[in-house]
Symmetry: D3
Subunit: 315 residues, 6 copies
Amino acid sequence: MSELNQPLGGNVMPRTGGPGTMMRLPTQPTAEGLDACFVGIPMDIGTSNRPGTRLGPRQIRDESRMIRPYNMATRAAPFDSLQVADIGDVPINLYDLKKSVDIITEHYKGILSHDVVPLTLGGDHTLTWPVLRAIAAKHGPVALIHVDAHSDTNEEMFGETVAHGCPFRRAYEDGLLLNDKVFQIGLRGSGYAPEDFDWGREKGWTVIPAEECWHKSLAPLMEEIRAKIGDAPVYLSYDIDSLDPAFAPGTGTVEVGGLTTIQGLEIIRGCAGLNLVGCDLVEVSPPYDPAGNTAVIAANYLFEMLCALPGVKRG
Amino acid sequence: MSELNQPLGGNVMPRTGGPGTMMRLPTQPTAEGLDACFVGIPMDIGTSNRPGTRLGPRQIRDESRMIRPYNMATRAAPFDSLQVADIGDVPINLYDLKKSVDIITEHYKGILSHDVVPLTLGGDHTLTWPVLRAIAAKHGPVALIHVDAHSDTNEEMFGETVAHGCPFRRAYEDGLLLNDKVFQIGLRGSGYAPEDFDWGREKGWTVIPAEECWHKSLAPLMEEIRAKIGDAPVYLSYDIDSLDPAFAPGTGTVEVGGLTTIQGLEIIRGCAGLNLVGCDLVEVSPPYDPAGNTAVIAANYLFEMLCALPGVKRG
Amino acid sequence: MSELNQPLGGNVMPRTGGPGTMMRLPTQPTAEGLDACFVGIPMDIGTSNRPGTRLGPRQIRDESRMIRPYNMATRAAPFDSLQVADIGDVPINLYDLKKSVDIITEHYKGILSHDVVPLTLGGDHTLTWPVLRAIAAKHGPVALIHVDAHSDTNEEMFGETVAHGCPFRRAYEDGLLLNDKVFQIGLRGSGYAPEDFDWGREKGWTVIPAEECWHKSLAPLMEEIRAKIGDAPVYLSYDIDSLDPAFAPGTGTVEVGGLTTIQGLEIIRGCAGLNLVGCDLVEVSPPYDPAGNTAVIAANYLFEMLCALPGVKRG
Amino acid sequence: MSELNQPLGGNVMPRTGGPGTMMRLPTQPTAEGLDACFVGIPMDIGTSNRPGTRLGPRQIRDESRMIRPYNMATRAAPFDSLQVADIGDVPINLYDLKKSVDIITEHYKGILSHDVVPLTLGGDHTLTWPVLRAIAAKHGPVALIHVDAHSDTNEEMFGETVAHGCPFRRAYEDGLLLNDKVFQIGLRGSGYAPEDFDWGREKGWTVIPAEECWHKSLAPLMEEIRAKIGDAPVYLSYDIDSLDPAFAPGTGTVEVGGLTTIQGLEIIRGCAGLNLVGCDLVEVSPPYDPAGNTAVIAANYLFEMLCALPGVKRG
Amino acid sequence: MSELNQPLGGNVMPRTGGPGTMMRLPTQPTAEGLDACFVGIPMDIGTSNRPGTRLGPRQIRDESRMIRPYNMATRAAPFDSLQVADIGDVPINLYDLKKSVDIITEHYKGILSHDVVPLTLGGDHTLTWPVLRAIAAKHGPVALIHVDAHSDTNEEMFGETVAHGCPFRRAYEDGLLLNDKVFQIGLRGSGYAPEDFDWGREKGWTVIPAEECWHKSLAPLMEEIRAKIGDAPVYLSYDIDSLDPAFAPGTGTVEVGGLTTIQGLEIIRGCAGLNLVGCDLVEVSPPYDPAGNTAVIAANYLFEMLCALPGVKRG
Amino acid sequence: MSELNQPLGGNVMPRTGGPGTMMRLPTQPTAEGLDACFVGIPMDIGTSNRPGTRLGPRQIRDESRMIRPYNMATRAAPFDSLQVADIGDVPINLYDLKKSVDIITEHYKGILSHDVVPLTLGGDHTLTWPVLRAIAAKHGPVALIHVDAHSDTNEEMFGETVAHGCPFRRAYEDGLLLNDKVFQIGLRGSGYAPEDFDWGREKGWTVIPAEECWHKSLAPLMEEIRAKIGDAPVYLSYDIDSLDPAFAPGTGTVEVGGLTTIQGLEIIRGCAGLNLVGCDLVEVSPPYDPAGNTAVIAANYLFEMLCALPGVKRG
């Protein structure tokens, strides 16, 4: 066990120092030998409104420095079970979104040539489509738990099919999803037409608008979802704007009346027991939360995703 | 139908560009031909603590740029039913509050010479009194739904009768209200004496302190209120400080333990079916929320008010 | 009654002016003649992550300027019952934490040579240990209501026994606590091992993690706690990071999924009837909330503590 | 000498604690027995653009906490020569500018019933007119050194004669100034017509636009000014917006291309030897500089004014 | 003369209200009938480091609200000489930089079908290339005054030829420039090789690094430049990052040791007398200066450009 | 040459991604094989006023991401001449300043067991004393170029001899300095007595107050200093508060009227040719400049120090 990577502890180096990696973990250039890896995608050129997510991975890593290795609530001790490292960033092309999408898929195919679960630090939501292409190339079509304020199933934006409002429509078209096991949680706000949310429903997806989440625990919902997904491979895509802006001001397309961080924790913790094959946390925009608390949430959620992975022991 | 004004869409002009009007709607100098209009009052000289609401209309308009025309939750499509425009700001006198109050009343009488529902972007809460004078001049005394942390029924402040803590006392004195149909929701915090909240009760008003709203949906409350108001003309005055400062940091007299934005949505959506004749959203102070999310809430709430107006179809 | 100190009122001096004392109360150099006193400890050198609490007392006092003397919810009128003043700050040594700890104890012994309840404006949580030493020197071991994201019962941090993660372990070792009447509310997040929370349980303490508080009122919990404490002397230590960072961004070691300000109010108001002998509000870090709303909460919570003290009449 | 008030030193109380008074000086309610006094005017309702100066005195006092008693550059030791205190704020009426103007004059007449030099912490520039009325009532018409981006000699603003763009025109009309000894330094930017700056010239005033100050020391200018003023009583009115916004972002009507803080120091230090009878530092708007460095400048400039007063020894 | 558009004055509408157009000018959809026009390009997808310039035009317009119509320093009264309006934004494609570049050229060809001088509010610096294509299509190759921290003559960035570091190399390749009349002012910082600045020199351009500008007025430099340019058509491209970050924090690729705003004014005012056929002000990134002073500079510089245009009378 | 470490280039990985090391250089645990190394000291517990420098090294590294390898002004190409890496942080004890001081000395003795020049990212200025102890242990007493607003030669602060106002007095007492080759540049502001600056003069040091630097280039001064130092080993200690707060708002004890960044560049570039054996850049406090431009200056200054080291070729 002593050979497993451990986050650098606060009694060895002050929390305000140490490496700028996720949870102050060791870094390595590839996913070789890892059970799970953190990887960043410093991109925001798929964004429609406020930019800034290109700096998301940097701030999430920075603000992950306080996280300790043991999950007090779930009793998960992921670093006692899994070999984990931070494998750095995807060298996307900031001037060409379409090329970046292909760079991402190729990069993840490289990662997934190892038997590893990638945990992605976004980056705008466009990235989930190319990640899913690599995921499905390895695992076949997957179940999807998609937490978001928006359905991200636009046919196109400003005439483009690649943008942060479109990834799940592209994933559907590419046959990357198990359509009876797709769950979209937290959708809300204004739109262009009922079809904005109904498009997925017509494909067999389950849409749970924010309004159905208000004033209650989401633990029962997750129980249902786990039952429906069973042991299919699952991808978890968590858009920080699913949260109400009170919790997550540092994002680009805020919508009023969203989830609480408690509900977010219930969702992620509720994924434990599923066959998670990949996760992402997207749309953290540092310029809109210089104090960094949005990134603190993101960092903790990524840690909670790690804690929910198959094979993690509970102490 | 194609003659109705539409917000400039995000597929025609990036959300970060386009006119600085409410929802990127067309602007016109008067309310002529409109069913509803957005109007700003760039004033803060009635404020007792932190200033800044003089810039509220500018920031609300700016942050309204992301709102799309269809309400996903209520299925309201206001721009398919009503002719709406942004008619600009009231030229108030920033150096003389008493003169500004009269300027506002006159300006609204001009607006209300047309058959239009004004949706006001504040501005400090002093403005509701002069607006109500014009409203009552047209519609007679009105029912009132007043959402706020404060009762705003002070006899005077610093010896003055015109200030942002006094508008509803002045409105009462002027006979502008249907006293058995006045509802104050969200009151809380510290005061000078029990009379701060009881004064209205003695006049027949219904006071629902924040404590009675905690931990629950306000949909049942709104059902009751709708029943009591019936088809009387109603004015909705929404002070953003009714919300807990976690949601709305950008305001001047914050009080702890307030409403959630979800409850705010329940209140405004719960006004659908009423005979709304005017609405305001006041006390947004941009300097205290430079990231602009308080204004995002305000902009969305104004859109929700528009969706709740009589005559709006649900798609 | 007219001899009791009163906060300077908003009709005598604008809220944006007046003395920079707590609630614009008079100040005096000692606690002589007082029933309750506000005292600041401008310290942050016990902090492990983000600093800044050395400026907490200044910002809390500044943002207390809006609080009026009467509690609308509980009907408490503390300034009609108690003689209260702001007695300034403890002259701690910012370059030597261990010396500061002794300075604090001595300073509070001086305060407690008078028959007064000290309400402390922190400052980092290290301070509660030396304050409790003085409290127990006067009152004997006390019951403790400790609201926090962290248990603060570390054996040591970076090899040191004096730090903001250790005060309650030190207090236990010094025999300052009635171990069957110790309640820790709101604990959560990541840690090093189950012992982080279980250590106190082994000593007879009651630990209520944040997860047990989610989605509900804490009034019933406080009823239980009051029953268990009875008429023992009680100390209330309120760490602002018990709140979710959405409410209190201005603190140093934020943890996701915390209490709401409403629950905080329920806890403090739920202390009324207890024999409170001291209270503190710690860990407000102004640089992380320049707009000051975290300090507004802190100031209001300190006012609510004052309202909950023995002997305060309800109007 | 030991009877003279001293600022609370940093070796007695941490700089981050201590009283919220100017330079942590003692406070007293009147100017009795003082040679110089600091007084605040928490007002911004004479402001045309960004508000916030109502909080200026609070932030200036807060950020004065680091200033030590001896001037390293000029070798002035004001607290060895003068009895100085902070006498608090003027209770202006935030809802009525015209009343506030009269309150200020009356308040300063009370101050000036003692033989004291008032150093005013603003507040918007409207205040200089009513202060000058009291100054001239005691000293007769005065010489004026007015440092500003704007001439503040408007006939009226929005039809009003009392506003922050008008004080020096009002002072002229009231005969408060020695017109051949009036100097306006730093004027610049856009205007309505050449008369904006020429009006004063026609009255005999000397106008030194910012452009004449660029790229050079202002020490020679001050030498000229001292020669022209001789031993006439002088009032120094320093608007922080005279500085380029790079130095002083925290103000309301910023103009590009202004003075440097070095030039500001040269101006104030260049006043030593003059018969200064009053000084003000106006237009600091805290919401536009939350980090507080604009207020640090203001606090230091007020200290430099104190150092330049008649009777201050140089060590 | 009375038919010329005028900015909405501050005595008619408070500066904090009124339309969100440049200087509160009227808006019209095309450049028809105009002598000069303001036009925005809300783009940042050509940016290499910090994003945000997509919001530049909105913030520049917002912060232009204080500018009055007359230039106190140069005595220019542009609105007495020219017909000017704000013609809104270019509908660029935020998801495809290469398409946006063509959209911009086409849009400017439309503008330049009228006899008008476009003053562009950026937007990242990529835009200057497509604007110059339209400019040269009308006027032939032009002289260039390019004020910037960077030469922006990269062969490519990340393999791309269209990016904000490349516009002037592209313009050279397209033959848009009079190479003996190209001036690059303010270049500095780190690079990859001497060629970064020497490339232009080899083409006949004059490069004036920041170091040659330090500690002095740039008026003599502009005199030289005017002599060299003569009556050739000139384009002025002003990158706000030419300024030291002390002045202009709100930009994406800050370099230490830059120009002062005074020098910037000297450059722009020094363009009077030239045959200016177009100007831009680029790289203002609002998220990095929420207080807005960088945009205030930008707005004033655009006004100064307008004042320097051919045909503007001096009063 | 190809074996020398190179910063990760912007054409290989977007500037917003890549490792969080200084200039995106490789990292290694010790200084073995290096000619120069960057090392961080994440400490602020020696600070008297605003805290935050504990996060300085993190933000400096983050904001160094834009720096390219070649110095356009000096033509230095340090990575073609020297082997350089980032060797991480010193594990200081955040709860005990005196212990931290000894940890630092021991750590630097370890670094200096290799033939390397350490470039330190602070951290508060206390650190220079323990660093100098290690430097002098290797090199003997050194010449010192100390750029600062403060002399930092206090006998003690609050009774303590170890604090950020004392390092150079301690260094003198320990015989670490060549007293005829000590230069303090930029001192200014308020103090306790003339001795604050004269103490060093009495020891043979040269003190150049800020006032002597105003309005001019510091290149001539550096020429003099180089002549006086000759080939003695030199240590350069650069306190970011030497700069005027307009340039460097992100620091703890700001003083008005400081150096410009241009003068700072002149000083550091003026060190080329000296026998520099160590450098530090201290007192960057991220919470007071969230946009990060103070850290950008610091990062560039550290790069300029690297460029000025002995053995660096100029291209």
